[in-house]
């Protein structure tokens, strides 16, 4: 069973066998609006928790996507780089940003489960 967690910066992370798949939440894509540009990290990059590793831009503004936990980038989603609108269509599915090989699993405990995240979104809106 994969473990799913959420960050305060509106990333989701799905963990299976020590590999984390990361993307931005459906709430985040709604807030950003029409996404026109995505930059994903190069595989091999070492990312620290909270470090900006990807970029997502709407017509109006650019936002960073942060590594929700530390690890090595092992794969990036080339499809969203060529089709940024996919992030609006399927933020928590096909439009994942990158995969990390987790270096410190304890960091997962700093993240929220789905119910807590949804409450967090409700409180902050």
């Amino acid at each position: 069973m994969p473990v799913e967690r959420y960050s305060k910066d509106h990333e989701w992370i799905r963990v299976e066998d020590g590999i984390a798949t990361v993307g931005i939440t459906d709430h985040a894509q709604q807030q950003l609006g029409d996404i026109v540009f995505v930059e994903v990290p190069e595989p091999g990059r070492q990312a620290k928790q909270g470090e900006p590793v990807a970029v997502v831009e709407s017509v109006k503004a650019a936002s960073d996507v942060f590594a929700p936990v530390s690890g090595e980038v092992i794969e990036a989603n080339a499809e969203i780089a060529t089709q940024p609108a996919l992030v609006n269509e399927d933020a928590q599915g096909k439009a994942w940003f990158f995969k990390l090989k987790i270096s410190n699993a304890a960091e997962l405990d700093t993240l929220m489960d789905e119910a807590t995240y949804l409450e967090f979104v409700k409180q902050s809106s």
């Binding site: 029409d34 026109v36 540009f37 930059e39 970029v55 017509v59 109006k60 650019a62």
Partner: protein, 380 residues
């Protein structure tokens, strides 16, 4: 510091505030107002809709005012001491774009001026100024206008803009007189029984109209226009991307008190007569720039890749020399690519000149591009 002294001014609301909420707008603070950044369609679709059909914009945050003197010549001459446009020869109903200038020829604000068509309005000029500059402009005007020429802010008025290729047929159905207006002219007309001042102008590069109306009737007028097929409400997000594609300046970004009209590529708005009389602030600098070229020029910029270059992005020569900065930048939905404007030295301003843009620490290739990015489709 106490909370009382640091508290922000409460945001103001336009007469269409409730309508924006009813239409599902996302409201954001802008120039002291709570304004719709987009509605349910979203910025991208709103932008494209305006280029193919018609978009209705609430621009009531802009400052509307009358300048009132004994007769047209008195009012026009008084204002000509503060800006480089020929106002004396404005025909009744004619509208003109100009800039309030400081003594150094820098732009205090850019604005639209209309000489009312009605003979009853003899001696009046109608001004529309930027929301963010309204207080500065009014103070400047009051400080410099001679006795007998007065500034009368038109409070209790809303301003709507209907823009796009089908705006004409919408207006035609309501007022044939308004539909027959030439580009950059205005008239008092009734739209659906509502008294309005309509001009054939706008800020999108498309054909369209700007409609000044009493605040009390603004929502009624907006609903009347929205009731037409093909008219959608459009927020400030698309207004910004539309004007950027059209190569139009946004005050505080592309122009400010340090930029001259010549640097900004606005020399077309300085009529010949004024170049001759040189009777406007900063004339020495501006006439020198007209004769010998300005030190820097506002240019269009097309990044080679897909990454947008936002305001503040440094523009570098290929060898690394710093040329200037991006003053407006983003994604152009109709161009379907990133676009930007910024300032570079005169010698680097030719279309096609390769440059680099420093985006997130990386030099990205780009080139100087002609403006506008999307051809203007004004009704000429």
């Amino acid at each position: 510091m106490s909370a009382e002294t640091t508290a922000e001014q409460p945001l103001r609301r336009t007469p269409l505030y409730q309508l924006h909420l009813d239409l599902g707008a996302k409201m954001v603070p802008f120039a002291g107002y709570e304004m719709p950044v987009n509605y349910r369609l979203g910025v991208l679709k709103e932008h494209l809709h305006t280029r193919t059909k018609a978009g209705l914009f609430d621009v009531s945050h802009m400052g509307q005012a009358f300048l009132v003197g004994a007769d047209h010549a008195t009012t026009a001459k008084a204002l000509e001491t503060l800006m480089p446009a020929d106002l004396l020869n404005l025909a009744p109903g004619q509208q003109r774009y100009s800039q309030l200038l400081n003594e150094e020829g820098g732009i205090i604000d850019d604005l639209m001026l209309t000489r009312p068509a009605s003979a009853l309005d003899h001696g009046r000029l109608f001004l529309v100024v930027n929301a963010s500059r309204q207080e500065v402009d009014y103070a400047h005007l009051r400080a410099h206008l001679p006795a007998g020429v007065n500034l009368e802010p038109a409070t209790e008025r809303a301003l709507l803009a209907l823009q796009g290729p089908t705006a004409l047929e919408v207006i035609k159905a309501l007022s044939p007189a308004a539909a027959s207006l030439a580009f950059m002219t205005g008239a008092d007309v009734r739209l659906g029984g509502i008294d309005c001042h309509v001009s054939r102008s706008g800020y999108t590069g498309e054909d369209g109209f700007e409609i000044s109306v009493a605040s009390a009737r603004a929502a009624e007028l907006a609903l009347l226009l929205l009731d037409h097929d093909g008219v959608e409400p459009i927020g400030l997000g698309a207004r910004d991307s539309l004007r950027l594609e059209a190569g139009l300046c946004l005050y505080g970004h592309d122009i400010d008190e340090t930029t001259s009209p010549v640097e900004a590529g606005l020399a077309w708005s300085i009529q010949k007569r004024r170049r001759g009389d040189a009777g406007f602030p900063g004339a020495r600098r501006i006439l020198d720039e007209l004769a010998n070229g300005a030190r820097r020029r506002r240019v269009g910029i097309r990044p080679d890749g897909r990454a947008p270059a936002r305001e503040g992005t440094e523009i570098l020569a290929l060898l690394g020399e710093r040329l200037g900065v991006v003053t407006s930048g983003g994604f152009g939905p109709s161009v379907n690519a990133p676009i930007a404007m910024g300032y570079v030295p005169q010698g680097r301003a030719a279309a096609g000149t390769p440059v680099n843009l420093m985006v997130r620490g990386k030099a990205l290739g780009a080139s100087v591009a002609p403006l506008p990015f999307v051809p203007h489709r004004y009704a000429r």
